[in-house]
């Protein structure tokens, strides 16, 4: 038996058909296997990565006995180390409390430089937007987040400091209330 073009072609066609089936079946099974335990691929190229310098310490670290006019300011340096261009927004949520967030004036400012040498650059949130309670009820996720810090993927990594200030309003209604808040800086690729 000799090798003919027909035989070569036939084997190519058969091979292609088998491959299509195998590839689609395999890809479909892998993608739709129903597992929710896929380990996040931390090394995936084209990722959005944000880090901060707070070492797990809250900006407002267990402040108690606050009275009207008391004001607390703290600063956090947020760095973007992702590989794709993205836009970073700020949103928040309250994880516990009796409503003090409605009596706290909130200011969030993005600056240049570092926390130690903060130069204000953009007003992300201030009194004209509402108090902390308004922030927590409106900026709840990325799509409703505030600020539009645009970052570019790749090196050099970009860092900006954010200064967050809370001031107790002069209202006796705040007496004895408390709140525990999470601030989230989230980026999505553009």
């Amino acid at each position: 038996m000799s090798i003919t073009v027909s035989k070569l072609r036939t084997s190519a066609v058969v091979g292609a058909v088998l491959l299509v089936g195998l590839m689609s079946l395999n890809a479909s099974r892998a993608a739709f296997s129903g597992s929710t335990e896929n380990a996040p691929n931390e090394w995936a190229a084209g990722s959005v990565v944000l880090v901060d310098d707070d070492a797990g310490v809250p900006l407002f670290d267990d402040l108690t006995n606050l009275v009207p006019g008391d004001t607390e300011t703290d600063c956090i340096e947020v760095s973007y180390t992702g590989t794709v261009d993205a836009q970073v927004r700020v949103h928040g949520t309250t994880t516990a409390g009796t409503g003090l967030d409605g009596y706290l004036d909130l200011t969030i400012a993005r600056g240049t430089g570092t926390c130690a040498a903060f130069v204000p650059s953009v007003t992300v949130w201030d009194g004209t937007n509402g108090d902390l309670g308004v922030f927590l009820s409106t900026a709840t996720d990325y799509s409703t987040g505030v600020d539009t810090w645009s970052v570019t993927g790749g090196l050099p990594n970009e860092m900006v400091p954010f200064r967050v200030t809370a001031t107790v309003q002069d209202d006796n209604g705040a007496q004895g209330l408390d709140t525990t808040v999470t601030f989230t800086w989230e980026g999505q690729n553009t």
């Binding site: 090798i3 890809a27 597992s35 901060d52 707070d54 606050l66 009275v67 009207p68 996720d141 799509s143």
Partner: protein
């Protein structure tokens, strides 16, 4: 004469060339088959096709994969499903992520496999346009490159593909006789694919001709060209019939546990009670200390409201033990006058002790004493005295800061209603008519800031009034 153009020598088929032909053919037919599945499958089963254009679902889905998705139905979306849904950030685009949970309100939690955090926006059933059923890998890459303007990549792919087709065509052309030779060797010579012309001059009857050569597969030169047309058309169709989805990489960092707690009461300043009130007392009013007394360290604020009094008429206060100092004295001709005096109690007063307030005998008066704790034994840190004829008595001070008591006192002609701005605690109004009508009003607030403080009370009619706004430091 017989001419036979059948099998003769065919070019030797080199093994490398043959292997190359198989590889090229495999590639081209694979392309066609994948494209066919990606287009035909959705059409046959009534589904939609989407091209993955970002890697946030890797490794399950890669850029260029085509996802064939079915219509979402209640119950078909569950944790583990890969779904295509409207991008909450840009509703004209789509996102392909995996459902990893659900919320109490029925909405779903989604996450790209390659993202560390779940998507921060929940996905409603109404936003889901398809549930992934089949993946046709890689076949959407040219469509993706075209959409992204990656013309270099697109061009390279076109060159590789066209070269493969050209190679196939050349190979088939060169070795078309190999098919012929194979058939001939089985038939011992000739078959009906061979052209046989019999020009027998000895047969005057005629020329015997075989039938026309049936065109063998090997000689169909047009086949590779047709193949090329098919998959060019396929890719055009894929571009037209699939939709690019953004798999939306996301990442975040948080500051958690920010906890703030307000003091149970603001400052240690407390309003204990109104000690006593005397109206229409004549030329003096005697206040009686109630049960509980007034401990040392606490403060008494005496409010004397007069109508028809001259500005220079004297007011004196005595309890026999403590000294009383006038902190504010404001009048509007003889219409109304308010005096606020303070005693920082050194010698405690007991129940039944008397505080005697001497004042001119005028046409209306009321005297009252408010008992506060937590005030410093010191002069006021800010005072404003105003008067006017309107429906909104008002005074302003600038507090220097630190926990303090702002105490506003108003005396107005006529008995009217009052309403304060929020944040102020009202001390019950004292009205007198002896015979002239007079109101004696006060309100207070505890504050801790440096800045303006305003005390305005709204009356239900215009009248003459005087107001004193005094700020006392805590201590």
């Amino acid at each position: 004469m017989t001419v036979r153009t059948g099998s003769g020598e065919t070019p030797r088929m080199r093994p490398i060339a043959a292997a190359g032909y198989v590889v090229a053919s495999l590639y081209v037919y694979l392309l066609v088959a994948l494209a066919g599945v990606a287009i035909a499958l959705p059409m046959i089963v009534g589904m939609s096709a989407f091209v993955i254009s970002s890697g946030s679902m890797s490794p399950a889905l890669s850029v260029g994969d085509v996802v064939v998705a079915s219509e979402p139905t209640i119950g078909s979306v569950a944790p583990g499903s890969v779904v295509v849904f409207e991008n909450p950030v840009d509703p004209d685009t789509w996102v392909t992520h995996r459902i990893v949970g659900s919320n109490a309100d029925g909405s779903f939690i989604s996450r790209g496999d390659a993202n560390l955090q779940v998507d921060s926006t929940p996905v409603d059933m109404g936003q889901i346009v398809g549930i992934g059923r089949v993946v046709v890998p890689h076949i959407g890459l040219p469509a993706h490159w075209l959409a992204q303007g990656r013309f270099v990549l697109l061009g390279l792919w076109a060159v590789v593909t066209l070269s493969s087709v050209a190679f196939m065509r050349v190979f088939e052309r060169i070795h078309r006789r190999s098919d012929d030779a194979e058939v001939d060797s089985q038939n011992g010579g000739y078959d009906d694919t061979d052209l046989v012309v019999d020009l027998n001059v000895d047969d005057p009857v005629g020329v015997r001709q075989t039938d026309k050569i049936p065109v063998s597969l090997a000689s169909k030169m047009g086949k590779p060209a047709a193949t090329l047309l098919v998959f060019v058309a396929s890719f055009v169709l894929i571009v037209a019939s699939t939709a690019p989805t953004r798999a939306a990489f996301s990442g975040s960092t948080v500051s958690t546990g920010n906890s703030l707690t307000a003091a149970p009461t603001f400052g240690s300043i407390e309003f204990v009670q109104t000690v006593d009130t005397v109206v229409c007392g004549g030329s003096s009013s005697v206040l009686i200390v109630p049960p509980g007394g007034i401990p040392s360290g606490d403060t008494l604020l005496i409010r004397i409201a007069l109508s028809g009094a001259r500005v220079d008429s004297t007011v004196t206060i005595s309890d026999g033990f403590n000294s009383y100092l006038v902190d504010a004295d404001v009048s509007r001709r003889n219409r109304a006058r308010m005096v606020v005096a303070r005693a920082n109690i050194d010698v405690a007063l007991q129940e039944g002790d008397l505080i005697t307030v001497s004042h001119p005998d005028v046409r209306a008066e009321s005297v009252t004493a408010d008992h506060f704790s937590g005030l410093a034994d010191a002069a006021p840190i800010a005072v404003d005295m105003t008067s006017g004829r309107s429906a909104t008595p008002s005074a302003d001070v600038v507090a220097p800061g630190g926990t303090s008591l702002a105490y506003g006192a108003v005396a107005n002609v006529r008995n009217v209603t009052h309403s304060e701005a929020s944040g102020w605690t009202t001390i019950p109004l004292i009205g007198s008519s002896c015979p002239r009508q007079l109101d004696n009003v006060a309100a207070y607030r505890v504050a801790s800031f440096a800045g303006p403080i305003d005390y305005t009370t709204t009356l239900n009619r215009t009248t003459n009034w005087v107001e004193a706004l005094i700020v006392y430091a805590a201590g």
